[in-house]
Point group: C3
Chain length 260, copies 3
């Protein structure tokens, strides 16, 4: 299989997915989210595969939705296409939380917006000390609607809220303190290897059971996830938001540049 | 507008509310809660206003319900009046969590009982290191029924529970560790100024959206809030609780003075 | 009253329960859980009793379900008996969270699996620095179904999840950081004495009210608890799980010994 937006490496029961849209700072476009779902299909079909590692490159894990892509939203005859893009994102992170494979995000450098959702929905998150995590959506008139169910589940209500409202980045240590990151390590590969040895002792059916039982213990429902997709679509269709995004894509102008 | 229990200052999009019932240690009476709601009306009508800061004075933020006021509870012909007092409190803190303005509590010194609710329901809480936060209700046979939905949302179940059960005060650092406080600072005004610059970048409509979306992501419902008001009224009407409060108001006698 | 699996000491409103199955590393069998419920009956009938302390011995608090007992599961004509064993465990920890007595777990040494549930459901947990807490269930193809509602309530979703998935032990400090432990102390008896003085100020009716009100503020329902019992029974009846347990009981063989 050939991928355009990710690199995929397999070895000893572990599939490593390296995000590879460097000139777009590893932002999420249609191709990326499609390929991410394909690699999950592949992992699920491979009974030898136990663990899927997600990682970035060059100090960028993932910076959220590609604004070039977003600028094409809500064009009347593309509504289905836009909804499908959002659904595919939600589907991918939901799959992280239900698949019999263990999803580990190895984060370094920038983690923003939708990229935070990829990490938050992962089973385990290992960060290097050089990580910077932020929810920048509100600056554009958006909110991280699809990220929040999983972020709140991980870090609790208030820290998800203050990250959303202040849009300020948090450090690796701060992310660890609020449980967005499970371990901070200078040698994340070594940490993952240690964890893997442990995780290889579990049956995949047990992992699947754990995930579905935990889902039944928390607030997230299929309805909440569907609501999150609609909320995202509505916001992306808002004329003011579209203007903000277009001004940025075309003129690198920020929404607050005009304001007193 | 003239206020009797608070001082109100306006400047550059920020309304600062200073609690001003010093001889009653900034406790909450009818006038106070009425004026707090009025200042929220004022803020909401003022399109220039972005941020409302709540603060105490003389090392007292707020010490909860005024016991003189509480001693008047459940007098048969004042039931409506008492219910309305409780409802007004619940209404105020609920408004904090839905208004397009950002509510920042700047806490220093004593924060007790209903005063903890004002902080817990605020969008952001900045504390000086000299803060002492406690839920003293259980000592009087009460429980912080209206505070708890918002406190649990902020700090999680167990810490809200242990504060309620042990009635022991927690420090600024402890409050920070459990997310009751978002920042501990020797210079809270400076911290707030830094945050304000960031918050001024957001549209008020975005803030409103964030708040209502977050509400949909958590356990608090209108029914829960109504239940909290009834629970409070019932407890305040309990003869034993009334005796405890009256003994304190009249003779400064504590409920446990009699007990072995 | 004579107990076989616990030691019971009474003094000044405090009942101390010392787990006493040392040769079985304080694991939970039918007799143990029956006697634990009996001591709760006793405490509830004794109006002088305010506090129940649970403790282990010889560096073992409790290591979860007795595998000898578990090996007898699902024998066709013992289904009722097995369900009743599981129900009795759930009933005991649920009672911790509703009784007018304060339940304090004093933990030291090993705390595993069902033993974590005893601690998690306690009102307060005091640990010595030499505590090691782990959820080992997944290694056997099980999951801590009855522990999780109370563990998630105490520590939040993610830390309950990562403990379940990685099966790695956490230290006293880590347990404190995530609120599984309320205090780490070299002198836990002194900490408990200090807390007791405070707790003796509360009416038992107030404690009962606090507990039932807090229950109404969170996700745990009677249905969730019933579901947890069935889930446990189903897992314990799974042929693969039974084989794992039997291999351990008979040959001290671990499930992963066979796997590559």
């Amino acid at each position: 299989m050939k991928y355009n937006t990710i690199l995929v490496k397999e070895s000893l029961g572990v599939i490593t997915v390296t995000f590879n849209r460097l000139s777009q700072r590893n932002s999420i476009n249609r191709a990326f989210i499609k390929e991410l779902n394909e690699v999950l299909d592949k992992a699920e079909q491979d009974t030898q595969c136990r663990i899927v590692i997600l990682e970035g490159q060059n100090d960028v894990f993932c910076t959220g939705m590609d604004f070039e892509e977003a600028a094409m939203f809500n064009v009347q005859d593309k509504k289905d296409d836009s909804m499908s893009f959002l659904s595919q994102y939600m589907k991918a992170i939901k799959r992280f939380t239900l698949t019999p494979k263990v999803i580990i995000s190895k984060i370094e450098g920038q983690v923003m917006a939708g990229g935070v959702g990829l990490a938050a929905a992962s089973d385990l998150v290992i960060a290097t000390p050089r990580v910077q995590i932020s929810l920048s959506e509100a600056l554009w008139g958006l909110l991280p609607a699809m990220v929040l169910p999983y972020l709140i589940r991980r870090v609790g209500y208030q820290k998800a809220y203050s990250m959303t409202l202040t849009t300020l980045p948090i450090s690796a240590q701060e992310a660890f303190d609020i449980h967005l990151v499970d371990e901070v390590s200078e040698e994340p590969d070594r940490s993952i290897q240690y964890l893997s040895q442990r995780l290889f002792r579990l049956e995949q059916s047990t992992i699947k059971n754990i995930k579905s039982y935990f889902r039944s213990m928390w607030l997230i429902t299929d309805e909440m996830e569907k609501g999150a997709i609609s909320e995202s679509f509505q916001m992306m269709s808002d004329p003011k938001v579209r203007e903000n995004i277009e001004n940025y894509v075309k003129y690198k102008k920020f929404p607050w540049d005009d304001r007193k």
